[in-house]
Amino acid sequence: MKLRVAAAGCIALVFMTSFVAPQDLSKSSIEGAVIQVGTGSPIPDARVMLMGNPALATITDRFGKYSFVGLGPGTYRIAVAAEGYARQEDGQRVLGGPQGQGTALNLTSGQALKDILIRLTPTGTVTGHVRNDRQQPAAGVQVQLVSPVYGPTGDRRLMSVGIGRSNDRGEYRIYWVTPGRYYVVTGSDFPGGSYQSIESGGLGGSPNQFQGPGYGVAFHPVVSDPKDATFVTVQSGRETNLDVVVSQKLYRVRGRVVDARSGRPPGNARINLQGRRFLEGAGAVTRTLPVYDSATGTFEVRDVPPGLYYLTANLQEPRTAGAGTSRPMPIAVSGSDVDGVILTVEPFVSISGRIRIDGPPLSAQELNTLRVNLQLSADGKRLADTSFGGIGGLRTPNADGSFILRDVMPGEYRLSFFHSPNYYVKQASYGGNDVLNQPIVVSSSPSTLNIELSPNVARITGIVVNSRQQPAPNIQAVLIPEKDRDRAELYSSATTDASGGFILTGIAPGDYKVFAWELLEPYAYFDPKNLEPVEQQGTQGNRHGVFGCNNRSAHDPRPLMFKPLKPTTDTAPRSYLFVGVEDGAGAVGAGVGAGGEGSGSGLGAGVDDGRRGGFGAGIRAGAGANGVLGMSE
């Protein structure tokens, strides 16, 4: 990641120099046309965006033609948007895929690139009626099409590809949808926020809409769990009719709180109910009002729409003596009230630990950037659908490598690290148990966490070639460990350069395979079902290399040869949008709307309150968030 950023900086610098240079005759140009896929008919009024330095945009003429002239040498990408067509980058392999994945055009001084044709696919439409469970039109209901995508650690999440909102007749219309297979999500996680003014980036509605608990998040056909949902297929140039039903029923969630120390109800507890996060970038909002009776330890949360939630109880203010919390309890509200939930609160514990280096001590800078995080897990799998965040975010360890993780609630976690790419985590143990490949289980009497870093990282260089043995540029080479495939930090990927070459650095010693797919949606390689078909192929022929990587042989300068694999997964178009991983504030940022950094007209008050009311929002939301992101690249 850092490397890439640095490279971009260099390009910018080069450009600056050329920008102030006196006008020369060696200006370059790019020209071409935008046409419809299949028919080849020209698309006028398309916006063609040249991404590079400078970033330029132009509109195609009535013959679909565009041109950029007077360009300096450098690397450019082209993206095109047109009304009624899926946004497309030149050379983009996945329709509606992430930006920056298209072909990079390297423009030399004086070069004139001609006939760059960009083919656009017509979008589809999904329209229909939203009705409530009494078959009446339901007004102001948000209807969203979402696409399952992989997160940067292989977790599944849902990305929105189109939003509509029903009017008073229940009619909705989601237009300009990139063809594909999507889930349909109704309702939103924001109680009382059904009316969003245009000025605050919303889609409008009426202030006369009921501002109380409304329709919770549900999947078509009226199910809470995406596993039970059905897909809708959006076809290019077609209108799909889909009527959806939303439930107006509200339920209660009741239970009691027990203090693990005394076995009695705590004198003071705050109950939070948060929707489980399925949607990319969506924040979980604490809903309804919690009422806790300290005499009996019972609580009741009223007016809960059907859905999947996490319920927690926490004690007093964080960071004071006696503060603590219960582990988030998954709750499914569907068709009936939920009773008898028992939340066991325990005080936070502090875990002391030490980092040892198998080699010379870390520099002050490397020590400063080192982070150790705990991320909630269940059965060894990180919980990606909570916004309760990770714990830790260890600030600079002491010079001797000792550190303390504070305010840890007892429970199961996976460790994650953020460290310099010059090191790998050789081992981690907690109370004598391996916690690198196994989850760490924290009890009320904490043990010591010992972490060993080693500078003996490996580097892998290689070349990806196509079936004609020619170098394959702009292909992702992915390093996948042979075992411990639940450790996302062992994965590594790099995109091949113009001569098909790639470099993977900071590799922990071990056995790996390198894969190169011609077409694979981002991060899909974390999914075993995508690896299984190609895994077997690998041991035969030359399609990918299987090799041992340890700190001696990996420095072998001879490049390995790889061939891109043919697409093996479902080739339905997928899309991916990069939004912060664990940061519960995502939706808030999104809601601010209009103007990018520093903007904000009318931030939804409900959102703000929800965040503040959320469990430990301030203390840990950010803490555990960034580690994994940094690790995987």
């Binding site: 007004a139 409008g204 806790y292 203010e317 709307g593």
Partner: protein
Amino acid sequence: MKLAVVVTVVMLLQASSNPSGTIEGIVVRAVTGEPISGARVQAMAPPSQPSQPPQMPPVVTTDAAGRFIVPQLEPGVYRLFVSADTYVSPEYLTEKPVNVASGQKVSGIRIPLTAAGNVGGHVRDLDGKPLAGVPVQLLKPVYNFRGERTLRSAGAGSTNDRGEYRVFWVTPGRYYVLAGSAVSIRRPPLSGAASPNEMPGQSVLPTYYPNAAELSGATSIEIQSGADLNGVDFAVERQQARRIRGRVVDATGRWPSSATIRLVTLSAIGGTSGRSSPQSYNPIDGTFELQDVPPGNHEVIVEVTSPGAPGPPIPTPVIPEGGGRVGIVTGIVGGRALVTAGAQVSVQVAGADVENLVLTIGAGVPINGLLVIEAASRGPATDGLRIQLVPSRRGQIVSFVQAPGPTAANENGTFTLENVVPGEYRVQVIGLQPDFYIKDARFGARDVLNAPLTLSATTSDKLEVVVSARGGRIQGAITNQDSGPVAGVAAVLVPNDHRDRPDLFRNVTTDQNGRFVMNGVAPGNYKVFAWETMEPFAYYDPDFIKRYEQKGQAVNVAESSTPTVDARLIPAGQ
């Protein structure tokens, strides 16, 4: 705050030993009297203290005959919130408060609701092609929390790919209709945007019905109760977003080594939205470029910051007491660096790119001043006082301009506001104790309490601010026609003079006994009003006040006086 919440919970639980009461009634359609089923009713108890946030009560729904029963009510005063699909939800509690004694069954409450109306139409471009994703808003002239006349959205929709829009459940009345919004052109992907395949850089000229570019050329439409108004169509000009290019120079023709260029867009209906990008400034030749600027009115602001200097906290807009319900402009996220120089230019972007815009920066100048504190000795009570200059435009505070941070005075009262960029400001004092008021503010000889402070680069004037601890304290009660106390109603203090100073107004909610207290009132003549129903901030509207001038209870406040004034509730509909 947290403590207060806990106290409520405990009180509720303790009170549960009392026999509970109920409120029964019927919700009907106004005029016809036909019952409304499925209406939602909530009984809200005014908070026991004005500072406490109200708790959301449970919802009961009316049956097929429009009847409702709100069960399990502790003794107390309740106001009923009623909401039903296709009807107008009263903005404030329209019904008279209901007093529920221990175990009492209150019945016979009749709540009429007015049917809302709907409006729909098409938005097309000048060639008749449908325009997708164009916001359409119904707007009503109102006053906002700062006392500014502005337009409030009374409902909004967005066109689909066929150019159709529909704004539903609109409160009957007269409205202007606006298609397009200067603010929302660059909606970020997927937050409210209908489709990620929308074309960036597209805009339409914000247009009032019927096809007027300015509000002055607009005609209002009437939305009638229970009716659909169709065919409110627009032909609007499709516009490309434009570019603003120019350069930054100082008086000597040099340019800064780093600068941030901000673009602040003035919304057609009041409020602002902005963005900034450090990349838009080229330090090599002092040029800047802002892309994708929607047509409309903008402010281009350049700020030169001193790198590494700690940023002052974000200035918060002054919100009069009780005025915190409407947030129009929020602050800026994150820390800010200290501005050492800056400039601001208003730009109207229409059919062409803006080129060669020259932003001449003036270096920040120091303002020396003196804080005089009357009737209070220096100590903990006065240590928190900070003098602050808040950027304003034509007297109204704006939020997207950097300003020097709040500054404390020295022991002897002197203070220096460093690096103040020439421009217009309002003087504020923050950290006022409850009985404190700002008695005077002068810049040189000019009054800068009742007028904005305009700073030039060559000024040597001194800023003198007088804060007095002798603020008046008004207490009283709001009573109804039967002289009974009215709980949970807004008691509003309106000054007789200087009605353009929102800080002289007070808006406090009466407690369970109908009583209120207003602190730190500057000496002068005032009136206390209490309306049973009132649009938010309507009291800033001179026409509104004029209608009720005779119904306000006059009160004269002298320094340190504690006048008592009881005011009569002005019933709804008067």
